[in-house]
């Protein structure tokens, strides 16, 4: 097959499909095992310096912030992160100096809130390197190829652009249509974290609302850690198996962490804590402010429960639940700032 265009981006997380099949055969048990552990243990066991990591959810929606803070607390270094719409999750990790490389579909910004001071400072100074560009569909289909056990998936996006030139994709002539077609390489992250509303002790996880790309990512990542609002009985899963998005045999750890997505949104349960995100966006404008934030909210507490107390405890969480249910308007300090 004739290669028409070759992206110059670094190819991360790719394995020969047979090599990955072998890894799966040897490392993923097929029986029901109690996988409960603390976030602290899950992060220390499954995240290693230099690993390629990915977060489920959508950057600031249903992301495992409990895992993010623990990665920061354990001072993991030189991580390569999937910028698959990475928002608040990657901003904190970059600000804390944990991530040195990123493949970008969407990064360094907070959607309607504007650009991320910490992420931009790191990438513009060269401290954090963008090793490849892609698009949201581009990233998502890297995981699709991986979960299918394929070396790549063909697609019709990226074509003709600089996003393609800086990606790890290639363009070939399609033998069927005769047209140029993009080949998006598989990506198998070393570890991926997901935050879900409910999961049993074995790792059968159900999600309410859009599942974004969690279906594919959970089946592509070599190690999968679930943080869950609550642990439910296996019988509850079996009563409504059609709601299961992630089945137990791809899961390595289950951690019960109520409000584990705070300050990000958990659909149907709690809204973004815009006051807290606003505090981060304000403080992260400087290195000193970034350190101050991390010292106050991450290093000075032992775990996520300690952090929840600091951010306003039950009263704040009840308010965020009311905003999510549209019973109260949101308060957002960043709205008073200059327009983006």
């Amino acid at each position: 097959m004739e290669t028409l265009v070759e992206g110059q981006g670094e190819l991360i997380g790719w394995h020969d499909p047979d090599e990955n099949r072998k890894w799966v055969r040897e490392n993923k048990p097929r029986d029901l095992r109690d996988k409960r552990m603390s976030v602290k243990k899950a992060v220390s066991r499954f995240v290693h310096d230099g690993d390629f990591i990915a977060m489920g959810g959508f950057g600031h929606i249903r992301v495992s912030m409990a895992a993010i803070y623990e990665i920061v607390r354990q001072k993991k270094q030189n991580l390569v992160m999937a910028g698959k719409t990475a928002v608040h999750d990657i901003d904190i990790l970059i600000g804390a100096g944990c991530v040195s490389k990123v493949e970008v579909a969407y990064c360094f910004a907070h959607e309607l809130r504007g650009l991320s001071p910490a992420g931009r400072r790191a990438v513009e100074s060269g401290r954090c390197q963008v090793i490849a560009e892609t698009s949201n569909a581009g990233y998502q289909w890297r995981f699709l190829a991986a979960m299918m056990g394929l070396p790549f998936i063909p697609s019709r996006n990226l074509l003709g652009t600089d996003t393609l030139k800086y990606s790890s994709a290639k363009v070939v002539k399609d033998p069927l249509s005769g047209k140029p077609i993009c080949l998006i390489p598989a990506a198998y992250p070393d570890v991926a974290f997901f935050h879900v509303p409910r999961c049993d002790i074995y790792g059968n996880a159900q999600i309410d609302g859009t599942i974004i790309e969690d279906f594919e990512l959970a089946r592509a990542a070599r190690r999968v850690v679930i943080t869950t609002e609550k642990i439910i009985d296996n019988e509850v899963i079996r009563a409504q198996p059609h709601l299961t998005v992630i089945p137990f045999f791809v899961v390595d750890a289950v951690c019960e962490v109520p409000y584990g997505s705070h300050p990000c949104q958990m659909p149907y349960l709690y809204f973004f804590d815009e006051e807290h995100i606003g505090e981060w966006l304000q403080l992260s404008k400087t290195e000193e402010g970034t350190k101050e934030y991390l010292q106050k909210y991450v290093y000075s507490v032992d775990d996520f429960a300690g952090y929840l107390e600091l951010v306003g405890g039950e009263e704040k969480l009840a308010y965020l639940a009311r905003v999510e249910r549209l019973e109260e308007p949101m308060k957002a300090p960043w709205l008073k700032k200059e327009k983006r």
């Binding site: 929606i61 963008v130 949201n136 074509l159 949104q265 659909p267």
Partner: protein
């Protein structure tokens, strides 16, 4: 002296964009003003507009402006809370009539840059990258771009093509392998509405906003805009449209106070 208009440029932008969306068609919506415009269309002339968000929201009745294309407002009273693979596949399969995007920088062929200003490594200014924009601009039948216009944002050639417009001219999209008969359809700025000349696929003035002159349009562009013999004038927002805009975005996140 010109009388003070009754509306802000952003309100005008949102209303003009909204009118471009047809009832009973599908639209893939990006963050910010595109959301406002699609929501306004659904509340006015296009109640059966099928709104689709990249994270999986399909056919929602969005209650209040979402902060993100993935937040729970994007699947409020939706027909489905699906996945990105589903939405992107349906788009690639031809189900999306309109794509609705914001942009930082655009060129004469409608190519968009939202990745970097200056070199790639390290960049002078790093922007967010494609997000779903490249996909939307590749797959949707017609792409509508809403943005602010000035000489630094309207450039002859963008230094980085994040999202494909007509690339370097007629036939270039098809030659690159992009789906046939797709591409930028309209560009809406605070000054005017543009389409693309069929012969050259270059940006062409279509209609001026009330009180704006052709000179202002040209002076706020880094390249020569094609000026046809007949140029229209857009309709200003009505008081009812303005009321709806502030109902959609009560905190003024996108529309201002």
């Amino acid at each position: 002296m010109k009388p003070e208009p009754e509306y802000t440029p952003t309100e005008l932008l949102a209303c003009v964009a909204s009118k471009m969306l047809e009832d009973k068609k599908s639209v893939f919506v990006g963050t910010g003003l595109p959301m406002v415009a699609a929501m306004l269309a659904q509340r006015t002339h296009a109640p059966h507009l099928l709104i689709i968000f990249e994270a999986g929201g399909m056919g929602p009745q969005v209650p209040v402006l979402p902060i993100s294309v993935g937040d729970s407002r994007t699947f409020h009273k939706a027909v489905a809370a699906s996945s990105m693979h589903d939405v992107m596949s349906l788009s690639q399969g031809g189900y999306l009539d309109y794509g609705f995007l914001g942009a930082a920088m655009i060129d004469a062929y409608g190519n968009i840059n939202t990745t970097v200003i200056g070199d790639h490594d390290p960049p002078k200014v790093r922007l967010p990258g494609s997000g779903g924009a490249n996909d939307l601009g590749s797959f949707c039948w017609r792409t509508i771009i809403i943005m602010r216009q000035d000489v630094n944002r309207f450039v002859e050639r963008v230094n980085f093509i994040t999202t494909p417009g007509y690339l370097d001219g007629p036939g270039a999209r098809e030659k690159a392998g992009l789906p046939q008969d797709t591409g930028p359809y309209r560009v809406i700025t605070q000054l005017a509405v543009y389409d693309f000349d069929e012969e050259t696929t270059r940006l062409r003035l279509m209609a001026l906003h009330p009180g704006i002159t052709v000179e202002e349009v040209q002076n706020n562009s880094g390249f020569e805009i094609i000026i046809p013999r007949k140029v229209g004038v857009t309709e200003p927002p009505t008081p009812e449209e303005r009321r709806l805009l502030h109902e959609i975005d009560p905190t003024g996140m996108a529309i201002g106070k």
